[in-house]
């Protein structure tokens, strides 16, 4: 359950950003969450709410955009979305590949502020 410490880092980060902008109120945080980030969306949402309590972010929303895993196929020389995390292969030709192009994101991309 490392989602709790990740939620804490996010809230800290947002508080700093809000303070830097003159103590504005934060309504929402937008996060990109890769399927291969090792972080579970529901656990993170649950942790976020708890961590926000008693901070200036209390009542704010965490908006998560899930990013599917995209790999590079050396045979097709193209990027392809992974159909299953249990099989790292090209969706078109089936070649096994471990070149992950996207899907490891754990990144705050935007904030909704006053």
């Amino acid at each position: 359950m490392h989602e709790l410490s990740i939620a804490m880092s996010m809230v800290e980060m947002a508080e700093e950003e809000a303070a830097r902008r003159g103590g504005v109120k934060v309504f929402a945080i937008h996060l990109k969450l890769g399927q291969l980030s090792g972080v579970v969306k529901d656990a993170l949402l649950f942790s976020y709410e708890i961590v926000c309590q008693g901070t200036t972010l209390e009542g704010s929303q965490l908006i998560i955009e899930e990013i599917p895993v995209v790999v590079y196929c050396p045979t097709c020389r193209a990027e392809t979305s992974l159909a299953s995390l249990q099989r790292f292969c090209c969706a078109a030709c089936g070649t096994l590949t471990s070149e992950v192009v996207r899907g490891k994101e754990l990144e705050v991309v935007a904030m909704e502020i006053q």
């Binding site: 490392h2 880092s9 980060m13 950003e17 995390l85 790292f88 471990s98 705050v108 909704e112």
Partner: protein, 230 residues
């Protein structure tokens, strides 16, 4: 009172930035000191500590200077066990935290002279989920899988296998007794991490250790890359 509409501002910050920056700094320090750093992840009970005890003993026999940091939620049992090898060992007790992070490693290394070491091991908390998100500054991450756990562990925990560099199948001396399906295990590992180098070892009998150890103490050298490339 009228309040202004919320507005969207772009931020772009990696949530684990602090950890990643610290891990990068650790990696730089390790490189400068010329120490190879190898981390171990696995589920609880897969034999990380037994493997490490054997590795520390054998590497010291080859005149290499080795040390280990071991992470656990509670107790210092593992450190006491590993200290029997004669190598410097430090326990990181995480309390309720399910993984090690770069800051815990940095703190544990205080007062240690890295230049006096050839290989430093970092044994993570037994957990196949949480440690995958945290870079510790290591050169090589080993994921251990014991023959008693079932061949489908890689399929159940693809993320941790995907972040590791080398897979080690442990307790191979028990393979026959538990009817371990070797081919299935290898197939599953390749499915979630194509091209991953896999070693089969027994800490009890020493089987397979001779093939694996050179990869660990030369983790950054061309020799290791050659072995890993097959």
């Amino acid at each position: 009172m009228m309040s202004s509409q919320p507005r969207l501002v772009e931020v772009r910050q990696n949530v684990l930035k602090q950890n990643d920056l610290l891990a990068r700094e650790l990696r730089r320090r390790f490189q400068e000191a010329g120490v190879c750093v190898v981390s171990l992840v696995s589920s609880p009970g897969s034999g990380k500590t037994a493997f490490l005890e054997k590795a520390l003993t054998l590497l010291q026999r080859s005149k290499l200077r080795v040390a280990a940091l071991v992470g656990d939620l509670a107790t210092e049992n593992d450190a006491a066990r590993l200290a029997r090898s004669g190598a410097p060992v430090r326990q990181i007790t995480t309390g309720t935290i399910c993984h090690l992070d770069a800051q815990m490693v940095e703190r544990a290394l205080e007062e240690w002279n890295l230049e006096e070491l050839d290989v430093l091991f970092i044994e993570n908390v037994g957990n196949l989920v949480c440690p995958s998100s945290y870079d510790l500054g290591e050169d090589l991450r080993l994921v251990l899988l014991s023959v008693t756990e079932g061949e489908d562990k890689p399929l159940k925990y693809p993320t941790i296998f995907n972040t590791a560099d080398v897979a080690v199948i442990t307790k191979i001396d028990l393979a026959e007794a538990v009817e371990f399906d070797r081919a299935a295990a290898h197939r599953n590992i390749q499915s979630v991490r194509p091209g991953m180098k896999v070693f089969e070892v027994s800490a009890k009998t020493g089987e397979g250790m001779d093939e694996l150890l050179p990869v660990l103490y030369s983790a950054r050298s061309a020799e290791s890359e050659k072995v890993l490339a097959g």
